[in-house]
């Protein structure tokens, strides 16, 4: 499966944490969205078999994920709705597969928390980067946790993505602040392709 992939990095100092600062998550998300739109995308090839096997990490009981991705992109939609459950599972699987193939993250080192997200104090997944050399190199980190939030939309609208980005950033800060690392993975359908954006928060 081919993806269009791009990544960017933001410093956590930009985000407001204190009472003397103004809540500017929306504005920041808008800038992130703008730079996502103009970013250079590389073509990333992901093994379909990995995607199917990743169903052990996904939140909902959906099998044959690769088939579902192709169905979402290429099949005649007709009068049907695209299922939110499917795009949730697709986005999770694609994010984990990208982490595995691009950053060499071991699959059993990913802890998915989406099924307990009702706690309100946790993100979608977590990786202990003490065990991941490539991730440490990319982030310039010595250790700690990488907290991941995953967002997807198969019928993307700008206001929707900006809104979700703001919520994700706030959600990430809850567990990440002050010393750990964050990642928001945004997956959208763009014509007949899937675009994936990694936004690292350092």
């Amino acid at each position: 499966m081919k993806l269009k992939f791009s990544s960017l990095e933001i410093k956590s100092d930009l985000l407001p944490h204190d009472k003397n600062e103004i809540d500017q998550f929306k504005e920041l998300s808008f800038y992130i969205y703008e730079s996502m739109k103009d970013a250079d995308y590389i073509e990333l090839e992901i093994d379909d078999n990995i995607i199917n096997l990743l169903s052990f990490l996904t939140t909902k009981l959906i099998e044959g994920i690769a088939d579902n991705i192709y169905a979402n992109i290429f099949e005649n939609k007709g009068a049907k709705y695209l299922s939110g459950d499917i795009s949730l599972v697709v986005s999770e699987a694609l994010t984990y597969a990208t982490l595995n193939s691009l950053y060499k993250v071991s699959l059993t080192n990913i802890i998915p928390f989406r099924s307990v997200k009702y706690l309100g104090t946790i993100v979608d997944a977590m990786i202990d980067i003490g065990k991941e050399e490539e991730l440490r190199r990319i982030l310039g980190a010595r250790g700690g946790f990488l907290f991941i939030n995953i967002r997807a939309s198969m019928t993307p609208r700008s206001y929707y993505i900006v809104d979700k980005l703001a919520k994700s950033l706030m959600n990430l800060e809850m567990v990440r602040y002050p010393n750990d690392y964050g990642l928001i993975s945004v997956i959208v359908k763009d014509n007949e392709a899937i675009k994936e954006n990694f936004i690292f928060v350092k």
């Binding site: 204190d18 078999n49 096997l53 052990f56 699959l107 059993t108 099924s115 977590m126 990440r176 602040y177």
Partner: protein, 159 residues
């Protein structure tokens, strides 16, 4: 955190249907974390009621002594409780250190397994399908029925 390092393995065992192993790991995790959870929960509640804006919460939590690791502990506890409660009873087959189950769904059979000693990436053709091993995780799809002897032969090659 170190107490529950293996929680992803519990998910993997639950995936292949080895719920006993999954329950064992998750129970260990629950017992390790049980004592500290109550305090963390209460403190989070307390801080949440004090803060009026969402964006101030991270800093307020840290000031009250709730670190990232504590929030992770809480989530790990809840996740392992979920794994523990929702595991059913089912049996796995074993061959040469590989635990696996064959799931028959109509005309297709799906093989899910886990092999602790396997490393790297390995893919084999099997019948009119395939069998793949990535970092110990085994997955396969085959059309039609599976002859057990053929399957164990291919599984042996995956190491």
């Amino acid at each position: 955190m170190t107490d529950c390092e293996k929680i992803s393995l519990a998910l993997l065992y639950a995936w292949i249907g080895d719920s006993k192993e999954a329950q064992k790991i998750s129970k260990e995790c629950i017992e390790n974390l049980r004592d500290s959870i109550f305090e963390i929960r209460e403190k989070i509640k307390e801080v949440k009621s004090k803060v009026d804006e969402d964006y101030l919460l991270p800093k307020a939590l840290r000031e009250e002594g709730i670190e990232s690791a504590d929030l992770v502990k809480l989530a790990l506890y809840e996740l392992s409780r979920r794994i523990y409660n929702f595991s059913g009873i089912s049996e796995v087959e074993q061959y040469n250190g590989i635990k696996y189950t064959v799931i028959k769904s109509g005309y297709k059979s799906v093989i899910k397994g886990f092999c602790e000693a396997c490393k790297g990436y390995n893919i084999r053709e099997f019948g009119n399908g395939f069998l793949i091993q990535i970092q110990g995780i085994v997955y396969g799809e085959v059309l039609g029925n599976i002859v057990k002897e053929d399957l164990t032969k291919v599984l042996g090659e995956l190491k």
